[in-house]
Amino acid sequence: MILHSYSPKQVLDAMAFQKAEYCLCVAAAGTPPAQGNDIVLACYPSDWVDEPDPMAFSLNEIQSEIIADKKTQRWLKFQQLVKQWKDERGSRSSITQAATLQPYQKIIGMGDDAVPLIISQLRSEGEKPDQWFWALKAITLHDPVKPEDRGNFRKMAQAWILWYENNGW
């Protein structure tokens, strides 16, 4: 087994590249990657060559298994759905259409577990927050956004982040 540390982005890139190939293993016990911690990636090359860097393998040759803790698995699932949603949404203007796409609905379907992940996503998006408000509203049944701030995504993001900090989840 080869252990290396990779940033969450590197891991996601590897996952996206491999697509249907099962690979990737993450061991990040107790380290929520949403907070920017590196993920320990362990890859098992099929021919068990002593390769110094598993990412240097032809990814099809890599066989591995997920040994992630549940928190990391949820984060990886969420990030995959985020990417799928953004790809499928394209340049749609309709909030309703965007929110009813399957990946977005799957995020809502993650329920309470999705809330801290969405808040983390909002934080990471900074001054260009995406449309996570529908999901937050649907899951939490709350709406901390002032009526006059509807449509102003920056103010809406601030309201939700503040709500989360004050109320937790």
Partner: protein
């Protein structure tokens, strides 16, 4: 991503048929821009996420859009 749209969504555009006038910005949409607003995302969704002028039905219909303008 170039402009406020994705090039793959407009495959027939070529370099000599358009100009990029601004970077992509997820803060506002085409409807808002047409109304001179680049700070809000306009949409009459019934979850009340988007901005929509007060008094105009939050319905995705041509009539509602005409009234909004």
């Amino acid at each position: 991503m170039a402009g406020s749209w994705r090039p793959q969504d407009h495959p027939y555009l070529t370099e000599d048929t358009f100009n990029i006038t601004s970077d992509c910005d997820p803060i506002y949409n085409c409807i808002a821009w047409a109304a001179g607003d680049n700070q809000n995302w306009w949409w009459p969704d019934d979850m009340e996420i988007g901005y929509w002028p007060v008094g105009i039905p939050r319905i995705e219909s041509m009539d509602a859009f005409v009234q909004a303008y």
